[in-house]
């Protein structure tokens, strides 16, 4: 790349633009001042202590984790068979049905949350948690359909047909032949769905109640009213988790598995 000096310089500036803001946050998490300051004057870890002992952050973390996990599992449970049917059957209007399954992507998240709020909570008087779970399920379902669908397209179905002709029942062939062959697609879609649900804000904006506020939404209202390094500390912990996940993905599936 040495030949393209201008291009290299341009790319370096863009990467600096992407990374420096996050580095600044990471540094401010260790500052001793009561409000956020950069550069920091002294070094302390106490903001991590404040963040970890905060009950609202802790509860919010567990709620977000639970919602993301359940929504993702539900999306896999419903999305994998649907993706299989969409790639394997000769059913009419396949393209239309696929678009129907991907339709949550064209509805803005805030609108998904708002319409669920009016319908499920105001009209049907269902608990907030169910609404929140359904909202996150809707948002992550397209990831499963798209990524698992992509993996099924790569899979050579004659392998499945061979197992049938060797006397394997269709359900058994699905579980023992098809699923293991698309496992990397399933894992990628699990991670993508989980991360996107865990980070999602707009869908959850309307779907909150006493004791039911997700972590990003808690962080958001904290940022709106406070300006101390606690948020930086939480950000650092979230970023470290992300780096950890990316590292594991790189060692197993290859990082491009998340670029879908």
């Amino acid at each position: 790349m040495r030949r393209y000096r201008g291009l290299t310089l341009f790319a370096i500036l863009v990467f600096a633009f992407l990374i420096i803001p996050l580095v600044i946050i990471a540094v401010t998490a260790f500052g001793t001042e009561k409000t956020i300051a950069f550069p920091i004057k002294g070094f302390t870890l106490s903001w991590f202590g404040v963040a970890l002992s905060s009950r609202s952050f802790k509860n919010a973390f567990f709620l977000s984790f639970k919602v993301a996990l359940l929504a993702t599992l539900l999306a896999l449970l419903i999305g994998i068979p649907a993706a299989y049917a969409l790639s394997r059957s000769g059913i009419k209007g396949k393209k239309l049905i696929k678009n129907f399954f991907l339709s949550p992507t064209i509805v803005p998240g805030i609108v998904v949350g708002y319409s669920l709020f009016l319908f499920i909570i105001v009209k049907l008087k269902m608990p907030v948690f169910q609404g929140l779970l359904l909202g996150h399920f809707l948002v992550v379902l397209p990831y499963v359909i798209r990524v698992v669908g992509g993996a099924l397209e790569q899979f050579d179905f004659s392998i499945e047909e061979v197992s049938w002709s060797l006397g394997c029942s269709k359900p058994r062939a699905f579980f023992e032949v098809v699923l293991p062959n698309i496992s990397s697609g399933i894992i990628s879609s699990f991670l993508l769905a989980f991360i996107n649900s865990f980070n999602n804000i707009p869908v959850s904006m309307f779907l909150t109640g006493p004791g039911i506020v997700t972590l990003p939404n808690t962080l958001m209202s904290y940022v709106e009213y406070n300006y101390d390094p606690t948020v930086s500390a939480v950000s650092v912990m979230l970023m470290l988790t992300t780096i950890g996940i990316m590292f594991v993905v790189e060692k197993t599936l290859g990082i491009s598995a998340l670029a879908k």
């Binding site: 393209y4 201008g6 291009l7 990374i19 600044i24 956020i36 068979p81 649907a82 299989y84 970023m239």
Partner: protein, 277 residues
């Protein structure tokens, strides 16, 4: 696969989508056009109100500028990534992807620290002596725009890297050996070949920027409302559910129109490319 079992496999998802996406959506959108008879008065009122139109125009302006800036920054960067050695490519892809996987509150919060009254830029400018009083950059359209570009640039880069990978290196070399300068070869060879990728990336950035909530809320607040933050304000603060429905409908229509137009354009360009080959 038998059609009967296919239907069975597709049924649970369809039922959930109909009951929890389409019916709720219709129950929000229907009252905006039907109130004791079909009426578009809510939409006419929206477009007659200068304040509302200003928010709509601001949202579109931010989405359009962010898309263009992301493309300008993303095209050379993704080309650079695709020409790197395998090891560097992996590192640079990880660096571009990392912000994408980081929560958008964290990413917007970073820009509060940079653009705020006590932020880094103001401190720097005051230390150098260029300004006496801190500039108010936060809660302006500019800060929302910066945050939006920052939010969506990784998506543009990641979309384009795949496209750039498929552009043969020999093409650039041929163009250069025929006497084109590096910049001219890039603009006349690489750029046209990456147009379909730019369009795909632009759809993602534009629709994302149009509907983003977190960044405009944190960096624009009530002073620089966009459609997404305006919906929340209408519904939650003012209890104007019909008004919120109108905004929801406008957002969905713009998303659909932009997707349709750009995807048709991309398909058209793809066909033309095939004919030329």
């Amino acid at each position: 696969m038998k059609n009967k079992s296919a239907v069975l496999f597709l049924l649970p998802g369809s039922v959930l989508l109909i009951f929890f996406l389409f019916i709720p959506l219709c129950s929000v959108l229907w009252p905006t056009i039907f109130e004791e008879g079909l009426s578009f008065s809510a939409y006419i009122d929206f477009f007659k109100d200068e304040y509302y139109v200003e928010i709509l125009v601001r949202t579109l302006r931010i989405a359009i500028i962010a898309t263009i800036v992301c493309a300008i920054m993303g095209v050379p960067t993704s080309y650079f990534i695709s020409r790197c050695s395998k090891k560097w490519k992996g590192i640079l892809i990880a660096v571009s992807m990392f912000p994408m996987l980081t929560n958008s509150v964290v990413r917007s919060f970073a820009w509060i620290n940079i653009l705020g009254k006590n932020g880094i830029i103001n401190k720097l400018l005051m230390a150098v002596g260029l300004i006496e009083e801190p500039l108010s950059m936060l809660y302006t359209e500019f800060s929302v725009l910066m945050g939006t570009i920052y939010l969506f640039l990784p998506i543009m880069i990641m979309t384009l890297v795949g496209v750039m990978d498929n552009i043969d290196n020999d093409l650039m070399e041929a163009a250069e050996s025929l006497g084109g300068s590096k910049l001219r070869s890039f603009i006349e060879v690489v750029l046209p070949l990456s147009v379909p990728g730019i369009i795909t990336g632009s759809v993602l950035v534009f629709t994302g920027a149009l509907t983003a909530y977190t960044t405009p809320q944190l960096l624009g607040g009530n002073k620089s409302l966009v459609l997404a933050t305006f919906i929340y304000q209408r519904a939650m603060t003012l209890n104007d559910w019909r008004g919120a429905g109108v905004i929801a409908f406008i957002m969905i229509v713009i998303t659909l129109v932009v997707m349709k137009v750009l995807n048709t354009l991309a398909a058209h360009l793809d066909r033309r490319g095939e004919n030329n080959a």
